[in-house]
Amino acid sequence: MTDKKNNLIQPPRHLGDKVPSVGGPTPEQAIRKALNLGNELARSYKGWAVDDLQELWEEYETLGTDPELMSTCITRMYDMAHEIRGQGGTFGYPLITVIADSLCKYLERKSSLGKSGQDIVQLHLLAMKAVLRQNMKGPQQAVEGDIKQLLVLLRKR
């Protein structure tokens, strides 16, 4: 069915027709089961996060070696930081997301970095390494606000 005047088209089928609002697990049961399965995966997170961070560090080390490749290198670092940003909080390390988010904001739309810019990138990487080494899992309300503020100041330099 279409409403030509407003270019409206009724979809021929709706997801709701296949998903009754009753008959499945309660939201509490569904979410509890999902959390249990998610926790199993979260236990492995630190291992692969350390590897991802190492890759990012290696990319950082090539930053200043060839000026012609710097833009590509920054793009790759942005992509890696973006992945880490999405995964950190998802797998129980919200501080990783905070720091990776700051790094993404810093690298976005940049095509080159001077020495001080490279130092700012390095500080972000060291901060993420520290979070993993100190095993700072779960909400870190005591330091999260301070770290966010510190990162804003750092990016302004």
Binding site: L8, H14, L15, K18, V22, P25, L41, Q87, T97, C104
Partner: protein, 163 residues
């Protein structure tokens, strides 16, 4: 009391991170979804979409060299698409309002910002199940009517129906 019954649906999950894919798959199976198909980029995502004709698509935005927006475009416009009206949930680390607008203009049904949680994904899935918005074909846009907010199905316990 019971909740939404997802046991009759198949979901395609497209994300270049195998960890995120595994997590989303685990969550969906815990919610009772019958089958979860996985893809790691937009191209293979579309091939699997054509092959399996899933009921819902959950896609990342940035997937290496490919983009979730490419997948949305193929699903909504390609002659090969088995269901141009399929609900698409974009799951992404991008949280800027401008990005949300771009995704909306590409024709997604719902937007879900990472970090991901089971609670947020469950609510989005219920939301798209309740979504009865008509589609609009207007020049370059084809997708759910952006002027309308999703209204839960009549008769549903609205405490659970969160878009």
């Amino acid at each position: 009391m019971s909740g939404y019954n997802f046991s009759g649906i198949t979901v395609l999950v497209c994300d270049d991170s195998s960890y995120i894919r595994q997590l989303v798959k685990n969550f969906l199976l815990a919610f009772g979804v019958k089958e979860v198909i996985e893809a790691g980029d937009a191209e293979s995502g579309f091939l699997k979409f054509v092959e399996h004709d899933p009921d819902v698509v959950v896609t990342d935005w940035k997937m290496g060299e490919t983009s979730g927006l490419d997948l949305v475009y193929l699903i909504r416009w390609s002659e090969k698409s088995p269901n141009t009206f399929v609900p698409i949930i974009m799951l992404t680390g991008f949280t800027e309002l401008q990005r949300v607008q771009v995704a909306r203009d590409a024709g997604i049904t719902s937007y879900l910002a990472k970090p991901l949680s089971a609670d947020k994904l469950y609510k989005r899935l219920c939301g798209v199940a309740d979504d009865r918005r008509p589609f609009v074909r207007d020049g370059e846009y084809f997708g759910p009517d952006r002027r309308m907010k999703n209204v839960p199905r009549p008769g549903i316990d609205n405490r659970r129906a969160i878009a």
